[in-house]
Structures are given as C-alpha cells and as structure tokens.
C-alpha cells in the first residue's frame, strides 16, 4: 500500500507539472503585487495565531511539510517525499536538502521534531488534540528524516500538514523561551518564499523575495504589499483605481462582486478554498425546549428558503449543502434525506411538534451586511410558517461570548472543513466537544452515542473505503436528526487582475499561492 500511495502521489505531481508546462507560458521574473488583507492581522507568527488574515500573509513566510492541491492531494513542500508503513502507523518524511531559515540557519529534522512535538503541542488548538490523542512519538532519524509513529492508524494525519495547521517553527529561536513573549514574534523567521521587510501598522505589510529560497527559480515576484483598507466600499474603489491588484476572498461586499468581475483585465475565481470549504449553518440550541424536538427542527429546515439565500443574499455564490460534509471535500455522500423549500410541510411538522408560539431568539452573526440581510430573510421565512422570531444583534466579541456560553436559541455560524471530516466536521456534532468557552465547539449541545461512535470509528478506520462507509452512515443519520440546519457551502471569490498569473493553484489559494505567482 505504501509504495502504491507514494507512487501515485509522485505520478500525480509529475502529471500536474507536465500539464502546467504545456498550458502556461514561462513565468516572468520580477514585479510587485498589491493585495488587500482584511482585517489587519494581530501578528504574523503563524505558530501562535491562525486568524484568516494572519494565514493569508504568513502562509507565504512560513512553510509546512506538505502542500495540498485543489483536489486536496498532498504535495511535497518541506518534505520532499513521504512513506506510510503497511500497518498505516508510521509516517516517514524525507526533508528537502539545502533549506535555510530566513536568518541563514539550516532547517533540519530537529526543527520538525521541535515544532510538532513541543511548540505546536503546547500552543496550537488544532494540532494539540491530534498529537495528544493519536501520536505515540515523533522522532528524528537523521538530519533529513523524521518519523511520526501513531498509536493507531489515523488516515487524516496526512491532511494535517497544511501551513496554518502545522507551520514549521525555528528551534534555534524558540526552544527554551516563553513562546508567546518571544520578541522574535514581531520579526517572523520562516523558510518560505517571502520574508517580512516592514509592517507599517494600519497601512501595509511589505514582503520581499527570499533570495535564498530552496526551490530554485522561485518565487517569481520581487515584492508583495498587503494593504490594510478597513472599509469594503473603499477597497472596491482602490481596486478600480489601480491601487491594489488582488481583492482576497470576502474583502468586498457580495453585491460588488459581479460588477467588479466585469471590469477589464479582471479575473475572478472561487477556487483556493477547498481545504477550508466554509460550511454555513444555523445551530439550534437543543437544550432549549422545543428546539430539542426533531420534528420542529425539520419543520424549520423546510421553512427556510435556502435557495433564496444563495441566489439573492449571497449573489448566487455557493451551493446548497445536503449534510454535515461539504461536497467539495472527501467522504461526501449525497445519499441523505433532502429538505426542499416547502412551507406547507413545515407548518405541519411544526404543528405536530407541539410548538406553542414561544419566541425563538435568533443570534445574528456580526460579520457585515450580508449576514444581517440573511438573518432578516430567515426571520421572514420562519414567521411565514408561524414561528415567532426575535433577532438579537451584537458585536463580534459579544457574539463570541454568547455562542461560547450557549446563550442563544438559533445561532448562525460557519466552520471550515479542514480537509477531513475527522478534523473539521466531527467537532460540531460529537458529545465530547460540548464545552463552554469555544464558539466552534458543539455549542448546540446535540448528543447521540451512535453519532459519536460512527465519527470515532471513521477517524481511525484503516482504509478510505471503510471510512467512506462510516461517514456515509453518519451523514444519513445527521441529515435526519438535524443537529444543525445547513444553509450554504460558501464561496469566497478572489478578484484579481488577469496579468497576475498562477495566483490560485492550491487548496488554500492566496494563503500560500505567492510561491508560484508571477506578473505579466
């Protein structure tokens, strides 16, 4: 199995290379690209902070063992190749030769072991549970070889080495220090294609080409300026007047997207979000009276005109989901009960559920006008079938607190799928993740031992086929039970000048796309 997997991976990358060369002209060297980043990242030390804007900038400064293409297949990055033992428990990574940190020190297996076993285990909220639950040991074999030995087979491990999930951290700078207080956090040192030159707070972040980058001939661009422009309409004007070349996903209002995409020399793509595949839904708080009733939740699902939300509120972007797993990722199954917009059926179900006209508090997600409009549309839908709704508005910290402390009846949220249901999906439905203090835990409080069991078994089932069977079952079950009401597989379009080439070529898009990008 090992040989086969490695062989396939190599063949796929060779094939991809061949196709790419046949289609695109030789990249031009040099040039500067101006990109919008919104909001301003709190810091650029990616090991300590994984906010969206941090990842966009820092993903071009730091690197991880693997990259993932748009089909989410692992590709070599700092790991030149990898092997999985026949019992699927030992992962051996061979590192690239001649890699140096931005300060000139060599990158070796010691850095990998330090990063995965010490640094990220202590500070990274996504890597910590994986390493603690699944990994037996992480060892250096020689300077360019590292092995990760698992307690039991854990297929998703190969999906965990994306740059925000496992950025390589320089041991010589961080070992033995108080990580969060290290002054080097302001001057990030990675191995990536770009280095931080200057961060003028409130204005821009300036990255320059890493002249000693290990992948010869890359990067093509000389400089990237990430501009901080807080107002969405002003960002659109900045693009139109030529101040910026790239509007990253979500940086302009939905109603501006179609207009901007029609401008001359303007390209738009919704690719580059496959790893995240943002999935939006309403979480019913099943602890609160009638919301614990399955029939009532099903009634709500029939009552919501989800296609209206997609078509009108989100400007036609995205796709209607059928269940907990995004159709853009692995292990998706369409064999589930479906809920078409059907107010008549909704009324029947809501009546049968024993609903007595209680007011349902709907917590709006304070991420801008589009969400507010969506909240209003759904309130209208629900009131049309006789459900009393009261919308609650707050700011982001207020939302975080209410969501984290289960202070809502219905709550909007959208979560990343993170490449594998074991990482991005299970967390919203399993009993062990019902914990206060985290808005991305199982905040609705749904608990079903069968669901727990299926997710647990699927995570560690040895083959993809077995995993698929288990995930198919759990999707069918959840789509009937409706622990959350799935609304949209969201698309975040990247709008850019067509002469910026090869910008979005991976499963995380601009987050690590500048390695290969070039300007005509």
């Amino acid at each position: 199995m090992t040989g086969l997997r490695l062989g396939l991976a190599l063949a796929a990358s060779v094939l991809a290379l061949g196709v790419a060369q046949a289609q695109t002209p030789t990249p031009k060297k040099g040039g500067t690209v101006h990109v919008v980043v919104q909001p301003e990242p709190p810091m650029l030390m990616q090991g300590l902070n994984q906010n969206g804007p941090t990842n966009m900038v820092a993903g071009n400064i730091y690197e991880s063992l693997l990259r993932y293409n748009e089909k989410l297949e692992p590709q070599p990055s700092l790991a030149k190749s990898w092997e999985i033992s026949p019992d699927a428990k030992v992962y051996t990574f061979k590192l690239q030769e001649g890699v140096t940190w931005h300060d000139g020190k060599p990158f070796t297996a010691d850095d990998v072991v330090f990063t995965l076993d010490k640094f990220l285990r202590e500070v990274h909220p996504r890597w910590r549970p994986i390493v603690n639950a699944q990994v037996e040991k992480i060892e250096k074999v020689d300077d360019l070889t590292v092995t990760i030995t698992l307690k039991q087979p854990f297929g998703p491990l190969i999906m965990t080495q994306e740059v925000a999930s496992a950025p390589m951290i320089p041991k010589h700078i961080y070992d033995g220090t108080d990580y969060r207080a290290n002054p080097a956090n302001n001057t990030p040192i990675g191995t990536g294609p770009f280095k931080l030159k200057e961060w003028k707070k409130g204005s821009y972040i300036h990255l320059v080409k890493n002249e000693n980058y290990w992948l010869k001939g890359k990067p093509n661009l000389d400089e990237i300026y990430w501009q901080i422009i807080p107002d969405a309409a002003a960002r659109a004007v900045a693009y139109e007047t030529g101040k910026v070349d790239v509007l990253t996903g979500g940086s302009v209002d939905v109603y501006d997207v179609a207009r901007l995409a029609k401008l001359p020399n303007t390209c738009m793509t919704t690719k580059g979000w496959e790893m995240f595949a943002p999935h939006a839904w309403l979480t019913p708080n099943v602890r609160n009276g009638i919301l614990g009733n399955k029939q009532f939740r099903q009634g709500l699902m029939y009552a919501i005109d989800r296609e209206f939300g997609r078509e009108v509120v989100w400007g036609g972007l995205g796709k209607l989901p059928t269940g907990p797993i995004s159709s853009k990722t692995k292990f998706y199954s369409s064999d589930v009960p479906l809920y078409a917009f059907d107010p008549k059926k909704a009324k029947e179900l809501i009546k049968a559920s024993g609903y007595k006209g209680e007011t349902i508090r709907l917590l709006n997600l304070p991420y801008g006008e589009t969400w507010t409009r969506w909240t209003e549309a759904i309130k209208q839908n629900l009131e049309d079938v006789g459900v009393k709704v009261q919308v609650e508005n707050t700011d982001v910290p207020g939302w975080t607190q209410k969501a984290s402390n289960w202070d809502f009846d219905l709550n909007f949220n959208f979560l990343y799928q993170l490449g594998d249901p074991a990482m991005g999906v299970a967390r919203s439905y399993i009993t062990s993740n019902i914990a206060k203090g985290n808005p991305f835990a199982n905040v609705g409080g749904y608990s079903n031992p069968e669901v727990d069991k299926l997710f647990a078994e699927a995570a560690i089932a040895p083959t993809d086929k077995e995993r698929q069977e288990l995930y198919t079952k759990v999707q069918k079950l959840l789509a009937d039970e409706l622990p959350v009401l799935w609304l949209l597989e969201m698309d975040f379009p990247t709008i850019y000048r067509c002469n910026v080439k090869n910008l979005v070529t991976t499963g995380i898009g601009v987050d690590d796309g500048f390695r290969d990008a070039w300007k005509e």
Partner: protein, 325 residues
C-alpha cells in the same frame, strides 16, 4: 486672582478628573461582553479550553479585577500605558506610531474648517439677507446635515474613481518610495479628501455660529457709535464686530481641538488613514483593553488640556473676563 493661581487650580482639578476618567474607563470596557482572549480564539476559527487559559494568563485576565485595576493605575502613575499582547507592542509605541498621521489629518481639518467657517460666516453676516448669504447658509446647512460616511464614499467615487484627481485611500503611495518634497506632495494629495470630509461638518458649525454672533453684535450700541463717528463698514466689521463675535467660535474651536486625537474614527476608517481613531476602533472590536484605555486616556488628557487652553484664550480675547475658579 492671577493667571498662575488660576492655572494651578485648573491643573489640580484636571488631574482629579483624569483619575476619575481612568477608573471609569476601566470598568466601562469590562462591562462590554467578551474579552481579548475569547476574541483572539474566536477569530482563529478554532480554540480549546487550554488556549483560552493560556491567553487569559498572558493578558493578566486571570487576576482578580481589583488587582488588574491596581496594576493599570500603578502603570499610569509611572507613565507606563501598558503592553498590548495582541499586537506584541507597548501601548505608548502603538499610539506614538499613529499620532503623526492623526494630528496631520485633524490639524488640517481644524485649520480648514476654522478658516473657511469664520470667513463664510463673516461674509454671510455682512451680506445678510442677500443672495450671498443665502448661498452660504444653504451650503452650511448641507454640510451640517450630510452624514460623514456618505460624503466620504461619494468623494472617493467622484474625485478618485470618476475624475482621477486624488487617491482614495491611504496615507501615501505604498511602494513608491518617494522622499523629500515628492513624498510631502504625495502625502498631501492623500490628505485632501479625508481632511475636507472631516472639516466639512465643523466648517458649517463655525459659519453658522460666526454669522449669528456677528449679527447679534452688529446691533449693539457700541457699533452704532462706531458708525456714528464715521468709520467705514469694513473697519467696523473687522475691528468691532468680528473681534467681539469670535468668542463663541473660540469655545467651539476649543471643543474641536480637544477631539484632535480621538475624533476621526469614521474618517480614518473610510479613508484607510493609519491614525489613532482606527487604532481605538480596532482595539474596541478586539477588546484590546490596554490599547483602548491608553487611547481613552490620551484623548481625555487632550480634552482637559484644551479646555484650560480655551480659558486662557478667553482671557486674552476679552480681558474683562475674570478667571474665577
């Protein structure tokens, strides 16, 4: 009471006021839901209990509230405004980084609005009831009533996008590496729209106030006397009327000057101007307590300072005013 005594009294009062404000601010922002650790974790899209504990410990939020208050006040007594763990920088350096941009913007808006407003008001008063007066008062009304953000966006669309005269956002051309005069001109071109937008509202206020005040003074007995002794209308306007009419404008200017540091949140946001107002607004939505408290404190100190200054200017403009404290 002489000026020194007056000043000492006002300063002492000012310090008490500042202390009260500092304590009040501390409790005020704690009343808002959420805390910086929760916000950071929330933004990351992933969090666990341990991360929140680590962050709260780092921010000092695991300490009892009164201990936190004491640490904060003790810092301020030694002129230490604290540290922003979110931004990994001292609050003072964050504020000082942003101060020049804000002072340039609010200072320019201050001068433009004061100069233009007084001029428009004086002109309108001299031509009261005629078409010039109508034009000016109508303009002032429009400036006064139009929402700032609308003016900001429209000016960007008209002057940057359609006419291409000036840049729409930012402090300078990023990546252009201008130096010397070229840089000054570049910054000036970026300053035009935000300064005018910010200045419009106050221009209207000054114009209306100056006009009303001049008309009131124009009816006073000493003006009749001046006219009776044969002075020309221009001289009467400048020497006798304007000088007496300026006092309310000075009051208003004192108020505006107090807002030089913190009063441009909206303008700075829409024009991506890297100033204090945005620092404060970002700190607010991130619950970055130390930064927020720092900006609050500096802004209140400015208000207190300019109030004292206004009182001094009163005494200079009109020696009859007795400083009674």
């Amino acid at each position: 009471m002489n000026l020194a005594q007056f000043l000492a009294g006002r300063l002492a009062k000012g310090i008490v006021v500042l202390f009260a404000i500092a304590v009040l601010n501390f409790f005020l922002i704690r009343a808002a839901p959420g805390d910086p650790a929760q916000v950071l974790a929330g933004e990351a899209g992933a969090a666990d209990e341990q991360l929140l504990i680590q962050l709260r410990e780092r921010f000092g939020l695991d300490q009892p509230l009164l201990t936190q208050l004491w640490v904060y006040l003790k810092g301020y007594l030694t002129f230490d405004l604290g540290f922003s763990y979110r931004q990994q920088q001292t609050v003072l350096s964050l504020i000082l980084d942003r101060l020049p941009a804000t002072l340039l913007l609010t200072g320019a808006a201050f001068l433009v609005s004061l100069g233009l407003g007084v001029l428009m008001g004086a002109l309108a008063a001299r031509r009261a009831g005629r078409w010039q007066d109508s034009v000016i008062t109508t303009l002032a009304l429009v400036f006064y009533a139009t929402p700032l953000f609308w003016v900001a966006l429209m000016s960007q669309i008209v002057f940057s996008l359609k006419l291409g005269l000036v840049p729409n956002v930012g402090y300078e051309s990023i990546g252009a590496n201008y130096t010397g005069l070229a840089r000054a001109l570049d910054i000036a071109s970026h300053l035009v729209l935000p300064a005018l937008t910010l200045g419009l509202f106050f221009t209207a206020l000054y114009a209306r106030m100056m006009r009303a005040s001049m008309l009131e003074v124009a009816g006073a007995d000493f003006v009749k006397t001046a006219r009776a002794k044969g002075l020309s209308p221009g001289v009467i306007s400048r020497r006798h009327v304007a000088r007496n009419a300026i006092l309310p404008v000075v009051t208003l200017a004192g108020l505006q000057a107090g807002q030089l540091v913190g009063g441009a949140v909206l303008t700075e946001t829409v024009f991506a101007w890297p100033g204090i107002g945005r620092l404060m607004f970002d700190a607010l939505v991130q619950r970055d307590y130390s930064v927020l408290l720092g900006v609050f404190f500096i802004s209140s100190a400015m208000v207190v300072g300019f109030n004292i200054l206004t009182d001094i200017v009163y005494r200079l403009a009109d020696p009859r005013i007795e400083a009674v404290s």
